[in-house]
């Protein structure tokens, strides 16, 4: 099967503009601008069933249609913050197939009537940003960006903007605050970005991978895209596979492929003859799934993953083998969230701090069962009380580790207090 997103694996020098053009590049953008109304473009994307690949799975066409048409100018912002532990797909798309992503940004901009688009990259992607700057300049030179595109009145410019190391800036409203030159802390919603976004103007924020799908959809139509994936989760997805697996990396598969296919067929299984113990399908923000046969045979799509007690999220699949203890694992994830909490709301700021204190204590073998119960309580009290989803994310692994792998905690308790 030919790749839809990771096309550089079929065509290695597709990062050259002439090669990209020879392989159908910018035809979709030209078709949109020269032959379609903006609303028609949005309709095709709606019909394709494309859902956001940044984690929430929100229907992309619907988001575009929400843009407030009584307030101008409009902006498009590509979310290239990619900071969820275990996620490294947007980076490969931008580094190896940059024009397809940029063409997606361009088509989205046309569809919502934006004349300026920004790519917000995490600060660590310094070299990626430089590379994209070069590619943007090449597009301008070739007449795919600038004024009066394809002989029409439509004009568009794309700019990169580098963040500076803050996971929270992946949250779309924190990202917008950051772009405005403030500390990256989430806004109270509603209003959502399509009515109040960058500089208070209607803004579409889409993930890099989401946008990279758009040229294919516009070029080939919604039905062609729906040939991949499932009815409710159409299309392909890039799964970032990491952790205790022989061949970690990105794998483009149709949505609905099973965990078993990804981990064992493509990822080569578990190293050193060990057994798979748990799966985190959405990076460090994920619930821990017990990796039994039922879980392994579960299709990786937005509807099925909840059946085994987790979410598909960004589809960053972290594999955990049977040498790993869950008290260690949640100590790692909590350390991450404590570090990344932006501090704006108390339950998250204090809660992650408190959880970190407890996971550290439990992992060091000094805790009692009461500490484990307390940890569980603290996590549950954070849920539903935070301004953005980070607070909630921080509790997922904790709560499911205690619930699904209780033996790991019993083992670690201070001796003589196994049943505390």
């Amino acid at each position: 099967m030919a790749y839809v997103l990771l096309r550089h694996r079929d065509i290695p020098d597709i990062d050259r503009i002439d090669v990209y053009k020879k392989n159908g590049g910018f035809e979709a953008f030209e078709k949109a601008v020269a032959a379609m109304q903006p609303g028609e473009v949005t309709e095709v994307v709606k019909a394709s069933g494309l859902r956001g690949r940044g984690g929430a799975g929100f229907p992309t066409g619907m988001k575009w249609a929400f843009m407030d048409k009584n307030n101008w100018p409009h902006y498009v912002v590509a979310n290239a913050d990619e900071s969820e532990p275990g996620t490294f797909k947007d980076r490969e798309i931008m580094e190896r197939n940059p024009f397809q992503f940029l063409e997606g940004v361009a088509i989205a901009s046309y569809a919502v009537g934006a004349n300026a688009a920004y790519v917000y990259l995490r600060g660590e992607f310094w070299q990626v940003a430089r590379f994209l700057d070069e590619k943007i300049a090449e597009m301008e030179k070739a007449g795919f960006l600038g004024d009066k595109l394809f002989g029409t009145e439509y004009s568009l410019r794309i700019y990169t903007h580098l963040g500076a190391g803050a996971y929270i800036c992946g949250e779309e409203t924190a990202l917008l605050e950051s772009m405005e030159g403030k500390r990256g802390q989430p806004r109270v919603r509603p209003p959502f970005p399509p009515s109040y976004g960058l500089y208070g103007k209607p803004t579409v924020v889409n993930n890099v991978e989401t946008l990279a799908n758009v040229p294919f959809i516009v070029a080939n139509g919604a039905d062609a895209y729906r040939k991949y994936g499932t009815e409710k989760s159409p299309g392909v997805k890039v799964f970032s596979l990491s952790g205790n697996v022989n061949k970690p990396g990105n794998y483009e598969l149709p949505l609905g492929a099973t965990f078993r296919e990804l981990i064992f067929e493509h990822g080569g299984g578990i190293p050193d003859g060990r057994k798979i113990k748990a799966i985190m399908p959405a990076g460090a923000s994920s619930s821990l799934i017990i990796a039994n046969d039922k879980a392994l045979d579960t299709p990786m799509d937005y509807e099925s993953v909840p059946d085994v007690g987790a979410q598909l999220g960004s589809a960053s699949v972290i594999v955990v083998d049977d040498s790993v203890d869950m008290d260690w694992l949640i100590n790692k994830t909590i350390e991450f969230f404590k570090h990344e909490s932006c501090g704006k709301c108390t339950p998250c700021r204090e809660g992650t701090y408190w959880m970190a204190h407890l996971t550290e204590r439990i992992h060091s073998g000094e805790a009692t069962m009461q500490d484990v119960d307390l940890l569980n309580d603290v996590a549950r009290q954070i849920q539903g009380k935070t301004l953005c989803a980070l607070g909630e994310f921080s509790t997922m692994a904790v709560v499911t580790a205690i619930e699904r792998f209780p033996e790991d905690f019993e083992k670690r308790l201070a001796s003589g207090d196994k049943h505390g």
């Binding site: 190391g165 803050a166 990491s242």
Partner: protein, 168 residues
């Protein structure tokens, strides 16, 4: 010399990216520019930036404090930022960092005696399939080094030491 006097072209290009009435958006790229020479933002540069975008200097300082890639203190010429987040840790990143510390004779947070490398521990860098990995941050930018071993890292440090290698 002020930032705008030192880098007139760069400052102009930065402001050109944003609508003219949204000067404040330039604060992040300006901070990177300010870090170019010393690897951290000096008090004077903070004031320059505050003046350029017409906000208070304490606000600039708050932004530096919020983001991990801005620094208000001098460190080694290179910050070697090793990822020990969960996916990397599952592939031996903690052992890698411990070995590296032993070999360099410094702890995390410390700088090699020649002032070349400050060792730091960081969260996921989107290179989890290529662990152990780290980035090198200098005033000039950030460079990734992936699928590393302690030996390869020591060689890299040696090359940096000799000046055979520059980070872009």
């Amino acid at each position: 010399m002020s930032l705008a006097e030192k880098y007139p072209q760069e400052v102009k290009e930065i402001f050109a990216k944003y609508p003219p009435e949204q000067k404040r958006s330039a604060v992040m790229p300006l901070l990177y520019l300010a870090q170019r020479e010393e690897g951290y933002v000096t008090k004077e540069a903070m004031q320059d930036i505050a003046d350029l975008i017409e906000i208070g200097v304490t606000e600039v300082a708050a932004i530096i404090g919020f983001y991990t890639l801005y620094h208000d203190e001098k460190a080694g010429k290179y910050r070697m930022q090793v990822c020990t987040d969960l996916p990397c840790a599952l592939r031996g990143a903690d052992e890698f960092l411990a070995n590296l510390c032993d070999n360099l004779g410094i702890q995390v947070g410390e700088t090699t005696p020649d002032g070349l490398v400050t060792l730091e521990e960081v969260k996921c860098l989107a290179g989890c399939d290529k662990a152990p990995m780290f980035q090198l941050q200098s005033g000039e930018g950030i460079e990734y080094h992936e699928n590393m071993t302690v030996d390869k890292t020591l060689e890299l440090i040696e090359a940096l030491h000799k000046g055979d290698k520059e980070v872009s």
